[in-house]
Amino acid sequence: MPSRTMRSVLVLGSLASLTAAVGYGMGAARSEVTATIDAPSPAADNPRDDKLGTLQRQVRSLQRSLSELSANRPSADFARLQEQLAALEARLDEIGRGDEREANPEANLTDDEKRAVERARTDVFIALLEDHFQAEPRNEAWAAKVESSIGSTLKAEVGVVPKLVECQTKLCKVEMDHKDREAEDLFLHKVVHVRELGDTEAFLERHEHEDGTISTLTYLVGDGKHLPATPVL
């Protein structure tokens, strides 16, 4: 059983993930917003209690909105988010009953727990990027040119042919296996400097295997454009 402090961090981390998922949708479909957030109450004497109360009200508001949305449109995403919100609400209640005052409870996490937090954060953002990628139409001329350039650059300068290179209108994704960390580092430097992409932003999901090899999934956007806003955890 994780410690109280650790669970606090993990659950609050979930809130951070949820809030971060938002940046992805902030630029579009604002008219689709159906949730309402309770107005903040007057400041409490204790700033910590005030923040806690605000978060609790926000979570309850989100739960109500989520229930309304999911009643007519069931989805696995909603179910997962509902579970996270329920866990978060329970944890906030627990914090409210307790006396946890640590300024930085993250410091108590073990390395494995930190890895789990980082994995959760990455999973959320990769899912968002993949959704975005799938939603983009394919600009055949641009995509074919950039795919070819990425493939040939990696083959020539890294010595490995990527497992997958796919581009759409502005997003590309590259799946690659690396023999070690050094090879992964070289790949990363080369793939973000493919000339046809110009200035690039990239986000990586990586898996280290028992034999020391590494697999990466990289989403790239070029021409000085930006990836969607990133989850904070």
Binding site: G25, T34, D77
Partner: protein
């Protein structure tokens, strides 16, 4: 309504939470940038005289044939923040067309890269500035600049050099 639109609807709801949360949990946004002289950077001093020379004002590539690769550290002043960088800049000069390349990388506490934002300049001689916007961060992670300084060119007064860089976390 398709799945993506549903997600955007939900995203809107969370946007409100994000804004409210930010208001309740974070201090007011403020400039908190740190500027680092290029002497912070580390790299191989290859050759005799060395390809790369450090001075108080710049890190210069003296080679007329080889690019120099240096890594420039930063100090994360909010250790547990995962909010990432707001902005970064890097001031440099270059002697000619060969590319001045920079990767701004966000690392986990275990050293692995999670995000990279690259800039490159293939223009002619001159002193210019790269500017980055937001970059994701990780609690207890760190940021580095990986800089490829192109060769200098005989007869060109401007040598290729890295002058300084900065990041702003808030």
């Amino acid at each position: 309504m398709n799945r993506n639109l549903l997600r955007l609807s939900l995203g809107g709801a969370f946007a409100a939470l994000l804004l409210a949360g930010a208001a309740s949990l974070s201090p007011a946004s403020a400039e908190d940038g740190k500027i680092y002289p290029s002497a912070f950077c580390a790299g191989a001093l290859v050759g005799n005289p060395p390809i790369v020379s450090f001075s108080s004002d710049a890190l210069t590539n003296n080679s007329t044939t080889n690019s120099a690769v240096v890594v420039c550290p930063t100090i994360k002043d909010d250790v547990f923040s995962a909010a990432g960088l707001n902005e970064a800049k890097l001031h440099y000069c270059k002697a000619g067309a060969p590319g001045f390349l920079v990767d701004l990388r966000s690392h986990t506490s275990f050293g692995t890269s999670v995000a990279v934002s690259s800039k490159s300049d293939f223009l002619g001689a001159g002193c210019r500035t790269f500017t980055w916007g937001a970059l994701p961060g990780v609690s207890e992670g760190f940021y580095t600049f990986m800089v490829v300084i192109p060769p200098s060119i005989d007869g060109v007064a401007t040598k290729s050099k890295l002058i300084s860089y900065r990041i702003d976390e808030n």
